[in-house]
């Protein structure tokens, strides 16, 4: 799925290169792999396998011998209106964030990948939110959104009085979406930018000499070559929005009511506030299946369009 693009050093001599081509690999002690495999097994593999098992039991996190109850946890989850709302919120956030964040990222990348003199400075400032701690970004925006605060004052200027973005159940989810997009748009921009800088300048110049306008050059040269960064960007923002937790906890904690509850925050409340451990894990499995299905479908869709 993933490879790196940094250029490795070149070989010392051609003569040795032909000889090594015949031998495949070395006899390396398996002890080299031991630390990595030990960490992976203990921290990722075993807990995940246990988790999938517990999702089908009535484990409460305390009792030693949970009993197998089949799909009861999953059935109960989908009978619970809170889960349905959290699922709806998560899907809405994932779709809106993925589309808007990538549209903004693409526009910013196109703007920065031009001949403007300030491009390096602008790129740095546009990227800065990406490295900030999400919980700090959440609190920063909580202040920006307070009633009569900076954003509410701006809204008043365009004729929206008494805006209480995060306090109103109708608008709170859009407030959280804005926070997330602000933090991650620079990330999408940088990935698009890496793709754009891989486009040889001769191609665009030749097209310009042949009379292709800026829009035609973008539609026929830049855009087709941006398909790979686009797939990376969509996958990253989908996975990220399904795990959304920090920014929600810092701004709304899932409220008002359940209007900004996501699957991740609900999982946290189910498991650690209400001690519903096994239904919390069942929710984790649902999140995983959703993420897997959507990223897989998304990759297939793009591959099919590539093939035809």
């Amino acid at each position: 799925m993933t490879t790196i693009t940094q250029a490795p050093p070149t070989p010392p001599t051609e003569r040795i290169a032909t000889r090594t081509a015949r031998r495949k690999g070395f006899g390396i002690s398996p002890w080299f792999a031991f630390p990595a495999l030990a960490f992976f097994t203990a921290i990722v593999a075993i807990p995940t396998i246990l988790g999938v098992y517990y999702a089908f039991t009535n484990w409460d996190g305390i009792s030693a011998a949970p009993s197998f109850i089949g799909f009861d946890n999953f059935v109960a989850l989908f009978k619970n209106p809170e889960t349905i709302q959290a699922l709806g919120n998560t899907l809405l956030m994932a779709v809106v964030i993925t589309i808007v964040q990538n549209a903004i990222g693409l526009a910013l990348a196109a703007g920065v990948n031009s001949r403007i003199k300030s491009r390096n400075v602008l790129r740095t400032f546009l990227f800065a939110p990406v490295v900030m701690t999400p919980i700090i970004v959440g609190y920063l925006w909580q202040f920006l959104f307070i009633p009569n605060g900076p954003i509410a004052s701006l809204a008043k200027l365009v004729g929206i009085p008494n805006l209480n973005m995060l306090g109103d159940p109708a608008t709170a989810i859009w407030g959280v979406i804005i926070v997330v997009i602000w933090q991650h748009a620079g990330y999408s921009m940088v990935i698009f930018l890496a793709g754009m800088q891989g486009i040889p300048e001769e191609i665009t110049e030749a097209a310009a000499l042949d009379g292709a306008g800026a829009w035609k050059r973008f539609a026929h040269i830049t855009w087709p070559l941006l398909r790979t960064p686009l797939v990376i960007n969509i996958t990253l923002s989908l996975i990220m929005s399904f795990k959304l937790f920090d920014q929600v906890m810092a701004t709304t904690q899932g409220g008002p009511g359940y209007s900004t509850q996501t699957l991740s925050t609900l999982l946290y409340f189910e498991a650690f506030q209400f001690n519903q451990f096994s239904s919390g894990i069942a929710l984790g499995v649902v999140v995983f299946l959703l993420t897997a299905v959507i990223s897989f479908t998304q990759m297939r869709l793009f591959r099919d369009r590539n093939a035809t």
């Binding site: 693009t5 960490f39 807990p47 031009s114 740095t124």
Partner: protein
């Protein structure tokens, strides 16, 4: 094509305006931190009238940010060192060992990137509790090392596979052992990808909130994000003090970013490719 035309000028002005709007929250972060609570309540967007440091002193002492910084630094540095060692040694075996076993293990670890942490979260918590590591920063180091391992191994293995094997082959002919080859030959070649690994993992571990909250919440040794969460809970209404705390908490990362922005942006942008 190389000329700076009036269209470029228009684009430049538009982009500067867009970036200014984009950076407005960052300006608010700094300006509110320097103002007193009544000033902020009266006019949230006003400029700081004086270079008022009371908020910063208050946030530093009442927020106990000093000890939180120490905890965050120790956890981040140790986790990154563990990740570099495990990632480099493991990837050396995965990429270079004879037979298919290496790449099979690699595929399993790489698949870990797709598994959401939520499924294993609670069983892992029970395991950590049973060996007495809840409330111990060591738990965060172990978990961070495990969770960030798939990306680290993907980066290292991909890089090693692109390095021609001739260097190692030549050393082997001279009678070097696997360990000597790894230490003397491979490690120096891995420096560029190690920089990427350090940047991505360092920022990832430093910013982590959920796991430290779960394991360290309520103890004396908490990381910066967890401390900020508690601090805002206590002083939520005093925005000046809260923002002074937020400024100090984000300063190390932002400072490093503005110093090394070229490398950092490159790491994020070119680290992963489809």
């Amino acid at each position: 094509m190389n000329r700076y035309t009036w269209r470029t000028l228009v684009l430049e002005i538009v982009m500067i305006a867009v970036t200014a709007a984009f950076a407005f929250p960052l300006w608010m972060l700094i300006s509110v931190g320097f103002r007193t609570a009544p000033e902020v309540a009266q006019n949230p967007m006003g400029f700081p009238t004086s270079f008022n440091l009371d908020n910063f002193i208050g946030a530093w002492t009442q927020g106990e940010l000093g000890s939180a910084f120490m905890t965050s630094i120790i956890i981040t540095v140790t986790s990154v060192v563990v990740l570099v060692i495990c990632g480099a040694t493991g990837s050396y075996y995965f990429a270079r060992s004879r037979g298919a076993a290496g790449m099979r293990w690699y595929a399993i670890i790489a698949a870990g990137l797709m598994v959401p942490f939520q499924i294993g979260l609670l069983p892992l918590y029970r395991i950590m509790a049973s060996i007495g590591l809840t409330g111990n920063p060591l738990a965060i180091i172990l978990i961070s090392a495990g969770v960030h391992l798939p990306l680290t191994v993907i980066l290292y293995t991909g890089f090693i596979k692109q390095i021609p094997a001739e260097y190692e082959e030549a050393a082997r002919v001279d009678g070097a052992t696997s360990f000597q080859i790894f230490w003397r030959v491979l490690i120096p070649l891995l420096l560029p990808v190690t920089a990427t690994v350090v940047i991505l993992n360092g920022i990832g571990v430093w910013n982590e909130f959920f796991t430290p909250l779960l394991y360290l919440g309520g103890t004396d040794t908490v990381t910066i994000p967890v401390r900020i969460y508690g601090f805002v809970g206590e002083y939520g209404a005093d925005w000046g003090k809260v923002f002074a705390g937020l400024v100090m908490a984000s300063l190390p990362v932002l400072l490093l970013f503005f110093l090394f922005q070229r490398y950092m942006i490159k790491s994020f942008g070119s680290g992963l490719k489809g």
